[in-house]
């Protein structure tokens, strides 16, 4: 299963980058989102997955004994998801403003600030 999931993660990375390399701004955002799925999955899997219980201590016990999922990676992913959301929301609004200001959604046309005069 790890192999399949690893390949899936790689696929998500590839797809994310593919979308970001496109011309369209919307695709860019979609790519950013895809990239964040891929990253989260990567961290989730790299911390070793178990087909086991969540890291929640059962009602009548004080410690976790059996095999359980790694809570650390989950906490990291949670933080990363939320931060990612903040940035994605900002980016989504930003493309709205960029479109309003430039009249285009084609990333290739946004090269004014880099060009030599």
């Amino acid at each position: 299963m790890e192999i399949i999931l690893s390949i899936l993660t790689g696929l998500l990375f590839a797809a994310g980058l593919f979308l970001m390399l496109h011309k369209g701004m919307v695709k860019l955002i979609l790519g950013i989102m895809m990239l964040s799925y891929a990253t989260n999955l990567f961290i989730f899997i790299v911390a070793r997955i178990t087909r086991g219980l969540p890291a929640i201590i059962p009602r009548n016990q004080d410690v976790l004994a059996n095999s359980f999922a790694d809570p650390v990676s989950q906490a990291l992913i949670l933080t990363a998801i939320v931060i990612g959301f903040g940035i994605q929301a900002f980016a989504i609004v930003l493309i709205k403003r960029v479109y309003a200001a430039t009249g285009t959604t084609n990333m290739d046309e946004l090269n004014k600030t880099d060009n030599l005069e």
Binding site: L78, V82, G86, A89
Partner: protein, 135 residues
């Protein structure tokens, strides 16, 4: 969108949303849930109300100013992590009262911190959605 059915439904649903979000917040320490998830749910509830009644109305009714909510949430979280300093303990050391309330569970600074998270999330989501849906 603004029909009587929706309005009534929302009026009934909103308290439920809030109650459930609070439930998720408080149980978060022991079961899936927590401030973030709770906050999101509450915000979605308020957002639905705003979709039906309009954002201006909602802001007026509940005296909501999203940026203010964010500030409140952040200060709650900040205060919760500062409290242990007064006992000479490091920043953010968890301090607990020795009593357990029904539904809410144990009271302590980590819970207060989670409440701060809850409030910030509400503020943030409302801020974004209100602005966007307002155009």
């Amino acid at each position: 969108m603004r029909t009587v059915i929706f309005e009534t439904a929302i009026k009934l649903l909103l308290p439920l949303f809030i109650a459930f979000s609070l439930f998720l917040l408080f149980r978060g320490h022991n079961s899936p849930g927590g401030g973030f998830i709770g906050g999101l749910l509450a915000a979605i509830g308020l957002f639905l109300r705003a979709m039906v009644f309009g954002t201006k109305n909602t802001i007026a009714t509940y005296k909501i100013r999203p940026i203010g909510i964010i500030a409140i949430g952040l200060s709650v979280a900040l205060v919760s992590i500062l409290i242990p300093l007064f006992s000479g303990l490091p920043l953010m050391t968890g301090l607990w009262f020795d009593l357990t309330l029904p539904l809410i569970g144990k009271l302590g600074t980590p819970l207060m911190f989670d409440i701060g998270v809850y409030i910030v999330v509400i503020g943030v989501v409302l801020n974004i959605t209100f602005i966007l849906s307002n155009g």
